[in-house]
């Protein structure tokens, strides 16, 4: 019937949207369930700590190169851009404060989380997705080895342990990069650089808050990577789509959580 055609297509569109929304909420629930089970079965990842150590090597140590190089360049760019604007107001000595506060409060945790999601998160998703595809996870279940305890939980704790370390390294290397540009290259006074920085950066409200943020981001990114791998359709295309979903969803979650955490921390 030609009369009901536009109505039918509108109804179909709405049904499609509703179906996708419901499916997302299902997945959120499944992800929460996996998180809960990971915490419950975490005993083995500490009793057999070498499992977790191996994963810290894959997620943390292998990410060192990208974190350190990115931090160095981010710090240098911050110093350059900051000096460019500050010297118009004669406050070029505040460059240390600018570089350190931006890095310690925001850029350290957030950029580290984004890079971590891109490098370590995709590796985790691909690994677990491939294990599912090659039926290794089902084989483990058949041998009465709990796949969550053996595969998922060590990677989770490795991510949670690595993230704050990586974020702190990012901040420190970034500040060093900023120092190298500001003092020898541009000519800002070295004493003013460090002393103004020390006067403005408070250990408890800036550095500790940055570490808390990086812990929360670590939990979020690692859990998203693990869930996407665990829930990936067991095909080649499914695994590759799962890895892209990991990066996109982790990045959005990190940025959203950053806003929420910052608003909490600035109020408190």
């Amino acid at each position: 019937m030609t009369k009901s055609n536009p109505l039918v297509s509108i109804i179909k569109t709405l049904q499609g949207i509703g179906h996708r929304m419901v499916e997302r909420i299902w997945r959120l629930g499944a992800g929460a369930r996996l998180f809960f089970l990971t915490i419950v079965y975490s005993g083995e990842s500490f009793k057999r700590f070498h499992l977790t150590m191996r994963e810290i090597y894959s997620t943390g140590v292998m990410s060192l190169l990208i974190i350190i190089v990115s931090a160095f360049f981010v710090g240098m760019v911050l110093a350059l851009q900051g000096y460019n604007t500050l010297q118009k107001y004669g406050s070029s000595e505040a460059i240390g404060v600018l570089v350190s506060l931006s890095l310690v409060r925001e850029l350290g945790p957030v950029v580290t989380a984004l890079l971590f999601a891109g490098r370590a998160g995709t590796a985790i998703t691909a690994e677990i997705g491939l294990m599912k595809t090659t039926e290794q996870l089902s084989a483990m279940e058949m041998m009465a080895v709990n796949p969550i305890a053996r595969v998922v939980a060590p990677r989770f704790w490795a991510g949670v342990i690595s993230m704050p370390i990586l974020a702190t390294l990012f901040s420190m290397v970034g500040i060093l990069g900023g120092y190298i540009v500001a003092v020898p290259l541009i000519g800002v006074d070295e004493g003013a650089f460090w002393s103004q920085m020390q006067a403005s950066v408070d250990f408890q409200s800036d550095i500790v808050n940055g570490i808390i943020k990086s812990l929360v981001f670590g939990v979020a990114c690692t859990m998203i990577a693990l869930f996407e791998g665990f829930d990936a359709p067991p095909t080649a295309e499914g695994v590759s789509r799962a890895t892209t979903r990991t990066v996109v969803i982790s990045s959005l979650t990190v940025l959203g959580l950053d806003f929420v955490l910052t608003s909490f921390m600035l109020v408190i």
């Binding site: 943390g60 690595s162 704050p164 702190t168 901040s171 020390q198 408070d202 250990f203 800036d206 550095i207």
Partner: protein, 182 residues
Amino acid sequence: MDRTKIDLWVGIFVALGVAALLGLAMKVGNLTSGKIGETYSVTAAFENVGSLKPHAPVKSAGVAVGRVDSIAFNSKTYEAIVTIKIDKRYNFPKDTFANIYTAGLLGEQYVGLEAGGDEDVLKNGDKIAKTQDAVVLEKMISQFLFSKASETDKDAKSSTSTSASEVKPAGAKSTELGDAPF
């Protein structure tokens, strides 16, 4: 990938992380500044503390000798009671002045202590008697306007007798904040 190599690299990784954290705490933050050492508490009453906050420095002759511990309101005398902690190494006489200064032109406010000449020293729990409030910008502006207004009044009264001097422009009574004393 054998275990010893993994252990080595993870150990290096964690050691780097701890070093970075220590570096941040010491070099970048202010963790080492004066948090060590015993202190004694002294109170001072101010009519207006301006924007003084807890943990603001207490300086004497420009050197930090303590920290502001807490600021409370006394509802009987309507004054602000500021409790400051002074390092035990420094003793101040009983007639010390406590003033609230601003670091730089528009910077943070801190408590400045100026030693008097008394022989007795302040002990834990004592009260500083002589205080001077913070400078509040609005009060200064209104003071300045008031003094400018009374000046032009005097000039107006004296210029009726001395006609040689030029009459001050009519704008003298309006706000001329351009030549404010600050």
